[in-house]
Assembly symmetry: C2
Homo-oligomer: 283 residues x 2
């Protein structure tokens, strides 16, 4: 492994294998061609042509969501898709625009709609040394069980803001009180586009940093994280470079932290590949 291998893994998307999903003349997703083919059976909802899939269901976001959800239901019942039920994501052409529909989280990669998350780097200084709070994901997590994770991370469900999600997840996953999580500072975003078994992940992760007080330690709360460890930042970086112990996208969030805090330096042969590779354009 190398640092940039993790960036390549998260950017495995190949445009030749995908079609745009259009709502009107705006792109709202990316369908792998095999997934696009499966939508031909639902001509009231989708129109599949050689170069695009068009959302043809009409109505307000609630009506369009119902129509798409019926398609998702059919695909779930045939075991093409998992269903999360407890969580839907807003689907819009761009961040901050009004949603066209809401989609079950399990169906997001199938349609390749852009998903937004928030990741929190928790760190502490001891003298000149920097330490990072690292979580280990529970063994029953649907995605990346047992893998190492940031202090807090979560997807931004429909109707929730970035800071809301951060505060909620910080409380649920790590027992961090709102009075503390509110002091987290936004520090950028990591973006990548990745093909997986289900389809295409077109992800944007808003990145926050928090320096935790000396008398604070996160505690597992909702069972999503099995344990938290305060690891020397240099050891974290070595483990990122040499292993796949971290969840695929957490490697990128840690690399971004390492660049911003001077743990990686311009004399590293991979430096420019890392700096420019963490922020895929949001086209």
């Amino acid at each position: 492994m190398s640092f940039s291998d993790h960036i390549r893994i998260c950017n495995s998307y190949d445009p030749a294998r995908a079609l745009p999903l259009l709502a009107g003349n705006r792109r709202i997703g990316l369908l792998r061609r095999d997934n696009a083919e499966m939508l031909r059976r639902f001509p009231d909802v989708f129109c599949v042509t050689a170069d695009a899939v068009r959302l043809v269901a009409q109505g307000d976001p609630a009506a369009v969501s119902r129509a798409v959800d019926a398609v998702v239901d059919a695909l779930v019942s045939e075991q093409w898709l998992p269903r999360w039920r407890d969580e839907t994501f807003d689907v819009a052409p761009r961040w901050g625009e009004a949603p066209v529909l809401r989609l079950d989280r399990g169906a997001v990669p199938f349609f390749g709609t852009r998903a937004y998350g928030v990741h929190l780097n928790g760190y502490r200084r001891k003298g000149d040394d920097l330490y990072l709070w690292i979580g280990r994901r529970a063994s029953d997590k649907r995605i990346a069980p047992n893998k190492l994770d940031n202090l807090v991370a979560g997807g931004i469900g429909n109707g929730h803001g970035v800071v809301d999600t951060l505060i909620k997840e910080a409380e649920e996953e790590a027992s961090i009180p709102a009075s503390l999580s509110k002091t987290a500072t936004p520090a950028g975003a990591v973006s990548y586009r990745m093909e997986n078994r289900l389809g295409i992940r077109d992800d944007v992760l808003f990145v926050y940093d928090i320096e935790t007080p000396a008398d604070f330690a996160p505690k597992c709360n909702d069972g999503e994280i099995a344990e938290f460890t305060l690891m020397p930042a240099t050891a974290v970086l070595e483990r990122v470079r040499d292993t796949r112990d971290f969840k695929f996208n957490v490697n990128l969030v840690i690399l971004d932290f390492a660049v911003r805090h001077g743990l990686l330096r311009p004399d590293d042969a991979e430096y420019l590949e890392i700096v420019t590779g963490l922020h895929r354009p949001i086209d």
Copy 2:
């Protein structure tokens, strides 16, 4: 103006208007087609075809540099190019690789070879408020006279490292002693590709931050900067958004600083455009 207008200005490069400059099978530059045409007169040094310009001068870097420099001499004498004489840049396929040749700084955009610089954000905290040291460039500067600038900025000449350049320029431009400039922290890089009158700027700026002590103020030294002002960071950002007062690429360095220090937040409509727009791939 808007924040992302500055990013667009620095990324005006249009691939349809350029040909690769190749050394063997590696790309070392980008020639605008009109510039490529002018090289047909020098068949011992360059071979111009429909889809590429090949460096055909043979020998070690010193010999190749002399051959290319003779071409530069001819173009300078016909006033197609300026000459700097006092400064040459290494030309290599990638950062950290052995240079193929050294090129007069004035000829760098003509050949579209990648140029590297280092920019230092100097900041100070007063209570919860953040201030930035802003320089005003001298009126006799060749590029961007009278424009606002970072605390320190300079191109990385051949044979010099990033930190060497930073320490040298900090002393020369702002009278910052090495004991202080050594405490600057690397914080990433900004990259862009821009067409201008002379050709194509394919630039990478290594970005450093330094928190200056309360009893420190930079002083003009070599006449490159006319004055330094400690400005509230929020006022700096507003001036970036609303004006062209800053040197074109300094806007990007300040936006990168603002993202990393949480002065810009995810609820800014331009946030993702900014975060992903500051780091053009180094292909």
